[in-house]
Amino acid sequence: MSTLLTYISIQDGKVKRSSLETLARCNELAEQSGRKSAALVISDQAGKSAELLAGCGADVIYTMEHPIFKNHLNTPLLRALSAAMDVVKPDLLAFASTEGSKDLLGALAANRGAAALADVSEFELTDDGVSAKRPVMASKIIASVQAKGWPVLVSVRSGSYDTATGTTDPGIEEIPFAFEEADLRITLKEILSATGDKIDLSEAETVIAAGRGVKDEEGRKLIEELADVLHAGVGASRALTEAGAYDASLQIGQTGKVISPQLYIGVGISGAIQHVAGMTNSKVIVAINKDPDAPIFEIADYGLVGDLYKILPPFIEELKKIKG
């Protein structure tokens, strides 16, 4: 029986939600097409990580464990993925679209002679491959795309599917992996970790996004307060990550992250298409902007026209009352 294989990303000891969304879709397609659904965990503690996947609905979990996987490095990961494909011989290898998987997808496709569809928002199996939808032109347009011939590699935008649930306890199979440090062709010198204990934007239920209208320390404090009341993740437009006011990993949009929260509140953001590309999947969009013609109001469910410095304090107070 052929297999649909989902690569599971683990971050800070937790399975990424977007990986579980991708796995859920593969579970569903496996069931429909009479295939097996398998999860693949590649990590320095793969055995332990696999336990996090109990009840994920997959038929089997493959693990590959090696100390080299402690940090993201493309050379060993590519080698591991290629070895896993030799063992599992999947029809499909699916990734959640993350900076980690974006680093691997093209090279793996070239290495395996496989078709690759990056950053899809929907995918379907056909008789001889995969058909999918992917946003293009800064997400203004949806392209229908097709990949022919097995295996196919896809990466899936976060928020495209609900997360996986199941009742069965999948069996765990370890795939052996050997790697010599000497084979590393690039050297990881240092990791500058910015997020620390902050909320992961791509998984947050609520996101507050700050734009150029947030001009100063006072504005950033208001953003922080609003985020605290709502237990929200804080993101930013490029105008502010470029200016250094917020860390680059917090950028939302075409260059930055794609988010899919229940609630997005854009504060002092104009709504350029490249920003909107990263947040139109939000369930409810709130925008605060003093320019009544700002493009963000075209997509906002709730548009507050006015000065953010005057709107945020009473908004925060009211939310505190509701929450309190």
């Binding site: 990303s9 971050q11 800070d12 993201h72 493309n74 590519l78 900076e99 974006k102 680093d103 093209g106 090279a107 793996l108 070239a110 290495n111 496989a114 078709a115 690759a116 990056a118 950053d119 946003p135 293009v136 032109m137 203004k140 347009i141 949806i142 229908s144 795309v145 097709q146 990949a147 022919k148 062709r185 690039i186 990881l188 010198k189 240092e190 990791i191 500058l192 910015a194 609520t206 990993s249 260059t255 609630l263 298409i273 490249q274 139109t280 369930k283 409810v284 709130v286 009544p292 997509i299 906002a300 709730y302 548009g303 507050l304 026209v305 006015g306 709107i311 009473p314 908004f315 929450k323």
Partner: protein, 255 residues
């Protein structure tokens, strides 16, 4: 150091467009250098200015894409190559990567720089495909590069933080536009660009050995489903703030 920068001409995503019978129609023929490639080129120019070297821009595209090579030369590339295709050929990322690989096969270089993705398709595949086809180590999504003893220290934006990665030549790097602000060509740059050499190679000359049937195909375009129109609140800040906060709770249940 010898740098190659792979640049692509893309339609301007800000220009109005329509869909007719599943085809994408640009109202204007506005084409630009892919923003991520402009950042890659800018970074190469900065490195050359500080450490010396040579920069060649390579572009696969039809005759009209020559203007994008001219722009690269005006910014500061030393020479360019147009790998010329017919007006309407469109490859997938593997197609472009295979053609580029055929071009680079007999070339000598220190670093190949690409954009991290095409601004129009957001595929983000060509760079690492090309690296794999050429057997080169690579780093994607660079947001900063410094040179140390002919080696590059590349700062890459990862999922949660930034990774500093050291690469020695030859290697391939894909660049984010978060790296720099590409310069606008000066008048002098534009004048000088007219004397810089541009080589033209028909794609068919390179493709025979390398290209296979495309594995992926676009077979139609559609509008993104529109969001329900929302409501705008204007007036006294405290009033509209309270009103919306209440609605997020009672009507939307999202707080």
């Amino acid at each position: 150091m010898k740098f190659y920068v792979c640049i692509k001409q893309v339609p301007d995503v800000n220009a109005p467009l329509q869909i007719k019978d599943g085809e994408l129609i640009q109202d204007s023929d506005r084409n630009i250098m892919n923003a991520y490639d402009a950042s890659a080129l800018e970074e190469a120019i900065v490195m050359k200015e500080a450490h010396g070297g040579e920069i060649e821009a390579v572009l696969i595209g039809p005759e009209k894409a020559r203007e994008t090579i001219r722009k690269a030369l005006a910014m500061g590339a030393d020479s360019g190559t147009l790998i010329q295709t017919d007006e309407n050929t469109d490859f997938d990322s593997l197609g472009y990567a295979s053609l580029l690989a055929a071009f680079f096969r007999d070339k000598e270089y220190d670093y190949i720089l690409c954009g991290k993705q095409s601004q129009d398709t957001d595929a983000g595949l060509t760079g690492s495909m090309l690296a794999e086809l050429l057997g080169l180590p690579y780093v994607t999504n660079a947001v900063g590069i410094t040179v140390q003893n002919e080696k590059l220290m590349v700062k890459r934006q990862g999922d949660t933080g930034q990774e500093i990665i050291e690469t020695s030549s030859p290697a391939l790097i894909t660049c984010s536009n978060d790296m720099n602000d590409p310069r606008i060509p000066s008048l002098k740059g534009i004048m000088q660009s007219k004397r810089k050499p541009v080589d033209t190679i028909p794609a068919s000359e390179l493709s025979a050995a390398e290209m296979s049937e495309p594995k992926t195909r676009v077979h139609g375009f559609s509008e993104k489903p529109a969001r329900e129109p929302g409501k705008k609140f204007e007036g006294e800040p405290a009033e509209i703030a309270a009103q919306v906060a209440q609605l997020l709770d009672s009507a939307e249940n999202v707080i």
